[in-house]
Symmetry: C2
Subunit: 192 residues, 2 copies
DNA sequence: CCTACCGATCGGTAGG
DNA sequence: CCTACCGATCGGTAGG
């Protein structure tokens, strides 16, 4: 499993798994060392602190989300429904391709220390605000209809972010199928 | 704040807050004692262990959800859309009235020890299965339309469960308004 | 990458 | 409800 990865990458993978399973406070550097077959102090040859492991995991994912925005802006799309569809598809891609890191991103960010803590919240806010701005635009163009764009945004993101709870990469439901179904649900609703 | 509560109830409230803020592993019995103005060992006059605090918080909420099912069955409702609406409203009521406990319920249940761990998962599954059964019934009666009732259920529950992340009891958005908007979104969709 | 080790903190107990 | 204290474990350092 680790054959082609250097120690630092191995360490990151182990940290993602352990932070997910035991939480930041509950996962010890000794746990990680054991998973790598080395002694705990040896970890510090590859990383400065437990906190650095956490922040690199969290900001990796945060950057994935922010690069979704950049890509969409570069694409030249201007129809709100098309843009929102692209966001949803890209977001689901990030979650399904980074399940462990997504779990850490969502559950353990609160253990980030300053200034990382504040920066993380700002990056997440930027993304949420962007998604909401697309929904607002859709409402103003009468393409979307909702009483409360903020609540609508949070509901959508909760659904997308919740995927890591149940997604199985070896299961029979692909990221594409998930996207298709969630798009249908949020665009057209459950009632017929 | 604590005037009318006995020590055990005070302790539960403090534990909910600290488990939410610092996680189960990160919140210490000494933290709780300090919040109550007593010494750590005194806590053990009211509770047998840290684990007992966690399990009582988690099962309290789990029982709230299961009692939603009981109430609906007692009500005699048989129209799937009406039942699903009742579930959504009751679910949002539980979350908004128990924000801290809901956060613990969702983030810290994995620290439950056996047999509580297994029992908790079963109770949560029972609830999810019930919600899905209502959606399935709606599909079979051509009231609802979805390709994947499981995914639809998980999406809805992710949205409902995500409310504790942002809900502010002193804010301007009431539980009733949240219910109304989420119902609209899930039943009718965003597109018009 | 290791051994040896640090001070701090943990959940919990004994005994009053 | 307290003081005094237990063994275990923590993140991390020194030095090689």
């Amino acid at each position: 499993m680790f054959n082609t990865l250097d120690r630092k990458d191995q360490l990151t993978i182990v940290a993602q798994q352990l932070f997910k399973d035991k939480g930041y406070a509950g996962a010890s550097m000794r746990d990680m060392a054991q998973n790598l077959g080395i002694e705990a102090p040896s970890i510090y040859n590859h990383v400065a602190s437990k906190q650095e492991l956490l922040s690199s995991i969290c900001f990796n994912i945060a950057n994935e989300y922010l690069s979704i925005i950049k890509q969409i802006k570069k694409s030249g799309y201007n129809h709100p429904a098309l843009i929102l569809q692209s966001i949803i598809e890209a977001h689901i891609k990030v979650v399904t391709e980074n399940i462990e890191a997504s779990a850490v991103f969502h559950n353990e960010w609160r253990f980030l220390e300053e200034p990382n803590y504040t920066q993380f919240i700002e990056m997440r806010s930027d993304y949420e605000d962007y998604v909401e701005s697309i929904i607002k635009e859709g409402v103003s163009k009468s393409i979307f209809k909702t009483n409360n764009t903020k609540l609508c945004t949070l509901s959508l993101l909760s659904t997308l972010n919740g995927i890591y709870h149940w997604y199985n990469p070896k299961g029979d439901l692909s990221a594409r199928e998930i996207s298709h179904n969630i798009l249908n649900l949020f665009f057209l609703g459950l009632k017929r």
